[in-house]
């Protein structure tokens, strides 16, 4: 590179420096955008921070009329809906990834991979539309009454089956994050060296034993990364959840009950927020959401990176 610089530099030093500067500016603007996001979120939420401090995250009232704000119901709704989504999506995503990379005939591989990724191309608002008119009625009339009868005693599935509520949000989120988790799982499974598979097969393993011992165990860290990346996506997902979760700032044990998430309260109330403290509280909810998703994403990137860039994770750890 050094040689190239000096060679090229001898001809049009000014134009070259100008171009370098311009490209540098573009690169720096990426840093600037993120800095700007952080700056905007922090400055616009100071009012609420001064008013409530840390207790903002522990309070559960959300009362614009009396200017009392607490983020607890939204934090609860975000966490519960995302975890529910992970619970449903992870086994499915890993199953699909295992099938596509290890089991299916080669000619089916690319079409299947493409089809599952098509799920990721569907916009959130269309998932929401579909959920309102197809998923929610299905849950209300078929699924939730059965769940209530069978598992009502756990307290998780009791109360009136509205269809709309935490369960619907969790299911639609699960559908939305399956493609991410499964495409990353596929990526890290493909990164496991072929010799690992052959070695396990040579020991007399069945195909499943080969997948479990030879592939999944080696790709563990990366799969975990994919799962966490899916979690990050679920935490920040807005439209589909807003359309089916019921948008009520309450903390209920039952998954049939309506809830509210951090992203959806911003989506619903931001443009109608009157009063500085109201707006500021919404931005603080946004700041919290931003920080959590960033941390979750960084952890995920790191885990994926350890598998795809470096040597496979140690199998005895």
């Amino acid at each position: 590179m050094k040689e190239q610089e000096s060679l090229a530099g001898t001809f049009h030093p000014i134009a070259d420096h100008l171009f370098h500067g311009l490209m540098l500016l573009c690169g720096v603007s990426v840093l600037a955008i993120v800095a700007l996001i952080i700056f905007e979120l922090i400055t616009k939420s100071t009012l609420s921070w001064h008013a409530f401090g840390w207790s903002f995250f522990a309070r559960s009232e959300w009362d614009p009329v009396n200017d009392q704000y607490g983020a607890m119901p939204f934090i609860y709704g975000t966490i519960v809906s995302s975890l529910l989504a992970l619970l449903l999506a992870v086994p499915l995503a890993i199953g699909v990834a295992v099938f596509i990379t290890e089991m299916c005939p080669e000619w089916l591989r690319v079409p299947l991979a493409f089809t599952t990724e098509l799920l990721a191309a569907i916009p959130s608002v269309i998932y929401g539309l579909w959920a309102i008119f197809v998923l929610v009625p299905l849950l209300r009339t078929e699924v939730e009454p059965i769940l209530g009868r069978l598992f009502g005693w756990t307290g998780l599935f009791e109360g009136t089956p509205y269809g709309i509520g935490m369960l619907a949000a969790g299911i639609i989120l699960a559908i939305m994050i399956v493609p991410i988790i499964s495409s990353i799982t596929r990526e890290v499974m493909t990164a496991v060296p072929r010799q690992q598979r052959e070695a396990v097969l040579a020991l007399g393993a069945t195909r499943w034993e080969m997948i479990r011992v030879g592939v999944l165990r080696n790709a563990r860290a990366g799969i975990m990364g994919g799962i966490i990346l899916g979690l990050g996506r679920a935490l920040g997902e807005t439209m589909a959840v807003t359309m089916v979760i019921g948008n009520r700032p309450e903390i209920a044990r039952s998954l049939f009950a309506p809830g509210y998430t951090m992203a959806s309260v911003i989506a619903n109330e931001f443009s109608e927020a009157t009063g500085d403290l109201y707006l500021s509280s919404l931005v603080e909810v946004g700041l919290a959401l931003f920080l959590v998703t960033i941390i979750v994403n960084i952890i995920a990137q790191f885990l994926v990176w350890t598998v795809t860039r470096g040597t496979p994770a140690r199998s005895n750890a």
């Binding site: 060679l7 049009h12 499915l92 269309i126 929401g128 539309l129 008119f133 990346l229």
Partner: protein, 297 residues
């Protein structure tokens, strides 16, 4: 590769292996197939319903008229389709040059350096920022400064979302261009900036376009960042300083409304939106798999 391993596996299952192990193998395979079916089912259901509900509602009125007041039948989403185009155009005007520029910087100047790594990392962070947060920031940056909602604000929000995807795609594509191609240009006395633009970027053009199209398809359906930036509008608008309707916004408004007529139009709008997105994604996929978009040859 999977074919080879799977035939190997089959050979081995033929050897004396205990029944329980064979059953477990069978069970695992069955579960994987069940998982696949359960994942494909919603996909089929979503597309099926979109076509089933949407196709009957798409007509000339839908494509040429603005929304009618509640209760009046008819009307369409023409202004929302146009508004989406306007917002996406503004978004691309900011997002594409910025993203490609940052990608060029990373590939040509920032290789291996700490600073390049920082940009690369930040770009990945930006990619994970929830879209609703981007909306808040665009609101603060544009709407508050202007004093009203506007297509410009929506465009800025979408541009911010496009940048990281385009940056990383451009970088990856430029890195595929062999050093020797650059060296050949330098050898002919071509200056560095000229080489980057006319040789390196040109060789990778189709790959960069793929990245741009993917970013475009991703933001085309975005609703959350437009809620309090572009805001929506019931009428035609071509001014970048006015609130503007957008297809995803209109779908959202209609979907959560209590009117059957609007529900019908929401399905139609969704069908149009998904067709546009799927066409662009599929076109890119086919082109990429045929090698038409491969950078260096």
């Amino acid at each position: 590769m999977p074919n080879a391993t799977s035939t190997l596996a089959q050979d081995w299952t033929a050897a004396p292996i205990s029944l329980s192990r064979r059953l477990k193998d069978l069970l695992a395979t069955t579960l994987a197939v069940v998982a696949l079916i359960m994942v494909l089912a919603p996909l089929v259901a979503v597309f099926g319903y979109l076509v089933y509900k949407g196709i009957g509602s798409i007509n000339l009125d839908f494509l040429t008229q603005t929304p009618k007041p509640v209760g009046e039948p008819g009307g369409g989403m023409a202004n929302a389709i146009a508004g989406s185009c306007l917002i996406l155009l503004i978004g691309s005007m900011f997002g594409v040059p910025l993203g490609v520029g940052a990608g060029i910087y990373l590939a040509e100047y920032g290789r291996g350096g700490r600073f390049g790594d920082a940009i690369r990392f930040t770009s990945d962070v930006l990619n994970g920022v929830p879209s609703i947060i981007v909306g808040i920031v665009a609101y603060g940056l544009v709407v508050l400064k202007q004093g009203h909602f506007s297509a410009l604000a929506g465009g800025v929000a979408l541009a911010i979302m496009m940048v990281p995807t385009i940056t990383r795609a451009t970088e990856e594509m430029l890195l595929l261009v062999p050093i020797s191609v650059r060296e050949a240009a330098y050898g002919l006395g071509v200056s560095r900036w000229r080489t980057t633009l006319s040789i390196t970027l040109r060789t990778a053009t189709s790959g960069v376009i793929t990245g741009v199209m993917l970013a475009f398809a991703r933001v085309a359906g975005e609703t959350a960042p437009l809620l309090f930036t572009a805001f929506g509008n019931q009428y035609w608008n071509w001014k970048i300083n006015e609130p503007t309707a957008a297809l995803p916004l209109q779908i959202f408004t209609y979907a959560i409304s209590p009117f059957d007529e609007w529900h019908r139009q929401a399905w139609a709008g969704a069908l149009i939106l998904i067709v546009l997105i799927v066409i662009s994604v599929t076109a890119v996929r086919i082109a990429a798999s045929r090698g038409m978009l491969k950078g260096a040859s």
